[in-house]
Amino acid sequence: MDRKRLRVVHYLNQFFGKEGGEDKAHIPFLIKAGPIGAGMVLQKILGERGDVVATLICGDNYLAQGGEKASREGIELILPCKPDILIAGPAFEAGRYGVACGGICKAAHEKLGIPAVTGMYEENPGVELYRKEVYICKTERSTVKMAESLKLMANLALKLTSKEKEGKLLSGEKIGRPEEDHYFPRGLIKNEIVDKTAAERSVEMLLAKLQERPFQTEAKRPELQPFYPSPPIGRDLSDCEIALISDGGLVPKGNPDRLRSRGNLIWAKYRIETFWPREFPAAALEVSHTGYFPVHVLEDPNRLVPVDILRDLEKEGIIGRLHPFFYSTSGCTTSQARCQEMGEEIAKELWEKKVDGVILTST
């Protein structure tokens, strides 16, 4: 099969790009045809499989401090080269260079839709900043290992651009596990096609556990950091404002904010007076959540969100008042990370509105 030669753009900082040292750390992007310096080693490694069609060079300070705007400039420059992949660095332990490489790789992936690979030493700040978005090969500290590092990066680059479908991932991608292809874990979960069925694996695992032989669990337990409890409400309840939140997916009929019934990513706030009419609230509401059948909640929404109860308590003077807004989200298979973000966003609002206490109801 005639495999197309990969078009590679190589990103280097001012030093490796042979423009100068620290005195040139401020220079903006420039682009040169073909490989430069270490890029020639990269070209040799690629051999028949690809060509370093251009080298993109930038001063460390310019890119590391210029952020996304600077990255975009670099991407504009390489667009005409029609690259299949961007390879940046490796940066080894150079912090600014690492951040710059991470930034340009992220931009290449987002703006051009091409894979991008860089290389850094584990203590490089660029690793934690970018490993979830970019493939960062693990390199040693020293630039002496340039050729070895470029080999790892080229290998990864070829796998990422491979059109062949064999490989052990269900998706057909050729990439190997982080420890196999020597890159920092991306924080992704991928399906592998393995030799044994889950049934076979489970019986084998159980026998090993029983016989006190070592076994490899297929999911580790989460390490949750305990935190201090929030203080109790310090004032008289009759003086307090109580807010209601729910992740059961209760929304106005028609779901105007389009809360998704599964994998939802947003929360919405509704003014209770209009959202929940005093008469027949059920007619004005619906549930967007596929994790449970909402028939009972639709008959009487108080079963999920006790608005009427709190209104009664307000009237009786037991609480000061019910916070005028209800915060709604739908929590069916929303990722932990997004749940945390939403929690922070809602917490900020409640804090600003000086709410005294919160009741969160779930299914």
């Binding site: 269900l170 998706s171 057909g172 990439i175 596990r177 982080p178 874990p185 991306r186 924080g187 992704l188 979960i189 991928k190 399906n191 592998e192 096609i193 393995v194 030799d195 044994k196 069925t197 889950a198 049934a199 076979e200 694996r201 489970s202 019986v203 695992m205 159980l206 026998l207 556990k209 029983l210 016989q211 076994f215 669990t217 297929e218 999911a219 580790k220 337990r221 989460p222 390490e223 998704r260 019934s261 599964r262 994998g263 596929t290 994790g291 449970y292 059948f293 028939v295 009972h296 069916c332 298979t333 990722s335 932990q336 990370a337 299914t363």
Partner: protein
């Protein structure tokens, strides 16, 4: 109990003037099949098709896949309670046709999760159904028949067809015989008594999706919401006592008929372990009931089955996950070692995110994959069970069955992921 499954390899499935086998090919008379289906007056009409591997066909609105099987012994009943007369399943001879299935579509269902089967391209490569030939049934309800009532009629039609096809292979020689024999009432003696006793906790069902608040009948024709834990002989599971509900979600009747974990425990029975038996349970909506179930299930596993170890499987969903963990924890507290199944539902994060258990004893976890991985499927030339305008579920954008390319979450592709452990897939941290 002794069950003998007599498997016949079917080379092809074709429409013909008579129903019968000839040289490993099963011919079916569509007219005859339709007449049988229409004896149920809840069904006005039924479109029948055959889908073969390689056909650029997409079967949509799939609600179940059933393997053609029938009892061979006189007096045996098929799918007792669901179709045939009530008798305990799992004894005697059962004929099973390999390489073909009955695929049921219900385009009138308003439930969220109906499945899809592609007979070509990526979808066929990934699914165990991609290499089989299917009799596709696409029924139409009679006027005035309610949604739930029609669902029952569709299921019944599928079971009838499964039996009818199996009966048609009557005189054909058997290619492979599988014997499952287990005397649970008598403890093993001699050398076998040193082997570890391993039980299986089978979480059959979860009521959180009970459509319109009504439970699906799956055990000898009975609903199981609220069922307290009880014992089943593994042969009953393999022989039609348990069928799937009205949506697939990584579990269909075909998979239950060939229950991968039950068969694996049988395979190793007598050499590496003693198959101590099966406890079945159902997930609970109420926390008190959940706790009650967990304690009772653990008691059955430890004190009634006398198991030292137990493997636990779950149905699709988050609440079943919590339930399963509680049962496993109770088993560990009773001195029984556990290995439990989980499924991942996110592509970003870590496998640890999904293991929401607090007990340290739950350290042996098997995952059946990240079931919401998005899979791209190419254009189909023909749609069965629906039409090119049929909506195909995608949480991010609207799409139709006939589109140039569709993107579907893995769990909606029948035959890829499997909550009973039959797939060679594992989710890994990358």
């Amino acid at each position: 109990m002794r069950l003998q499954i007599e498997r016949i390899n079917i080379g092809g499935l074709c429409a013909g003037s008579r129903t019968g086998m000839s040289d490993h090919v099963l011919y079916v008379d569509f007219g005859e099949l339709e007449r049988i289906i229409l004896t149920d007056d809840r069904i006005k009409a039924a479109k029948l098709d055959i889908a073969s591997p390689g056909d650029r066909v997409r079967i949509v609105n799939v609600v179940d896949v059933i393997q053609p099987r029938c009892k061979v012994d006189p007096g045996g009943t098929d799918f007792p309670g669901s179709l045939g007369k009530l008798r305990i399943a799992g004894e005697g001879r059962t004929r099973s046709l390999e390489g073909i299935s009955v695929v049921l579509s219900n385009r009138y269902s308003k439930r969220s999760y109906s499945s899809l089967i592609d007979m070509f391209g990526t979808g066929a490569e990934m699914s165990r159904y991609g290499i089989m030939t299917h009799l596709c049934i696409d029924p139409v309800p009679s006027d005035g028949v309610g949604e739930r009532n029609f669902e029952s009629a569709v299921k019944l039609a599928g079971l009838k067809m499964a039996v009818h096809l199996a009966r048609a292979a009557g005189r054909h020689p058997v290619d492979r015989t599988e014997v499952h024999e287990l005397n649970l009432a008598r403890l093993p003696e001699g050398a076998l008594s040193h082997l570890p006793r391993i039980a299986y906790y089978y979480q059959l069902y979860t009521p959180q999706h009970d459509y319109q608040g009504i439970s699906d009948p799956i055990l000898y024709g009975s609903e199981v919401t609220g069922l307290l834990p009880t014992l089943l002989h593994p042969n009953e599971i393999l022989d039609g006592a348990v069928i799937s509900g009205h949506t697939i979600r990584e579990l269909d009747t075909y998979t239950i008929q060939n229950h991968p974990l039950v068969r694996e425990l049988y395979r190793r029975h007598g050499t590496d372990l003693i198959f101590a038996g099966v406890v079945i349970g159902v997930a609970s909506l109420e926390p008190v009931q959940r706790e009650r179930m967990a304690l009772m299930a653990a008691n059955l596993v430890s004190n009634v089955l006398g198991a030292e170890g137990v493997v636990l499987t779950k149905t699709h969903g988050g609440m079943p996950h919590v339930d399963l963990a509680l049962v496993a924890e109770a088993c560990e507290n009773a001195g029984v070692k556990t290995t439990l199944f989980i499924q991942l539902v996110h592509g970003v994060g870590s496998t640890a995110d999904e293991a929401s258990f607090s007990a340290d004893s739950l350290d042996a976890i098997v995952n059946i994959g990240q079931t919401q991985e998005k899979i791209r499927l190419p254009k189909a030339d023909r749609i069965l069970g629906g039409n090119p305008a049929t909506t195909i579920c995608n949480p991010d954008f609207a799409q139709k069955a006939g589109d140039e390319e569709i993107e579907i979450e893995g769990f909606l592709l029948a035959g890829v992921f499997d909550v009973l452990g039959g797939s060679k897939i594992m989710a890994v941290d990358y």
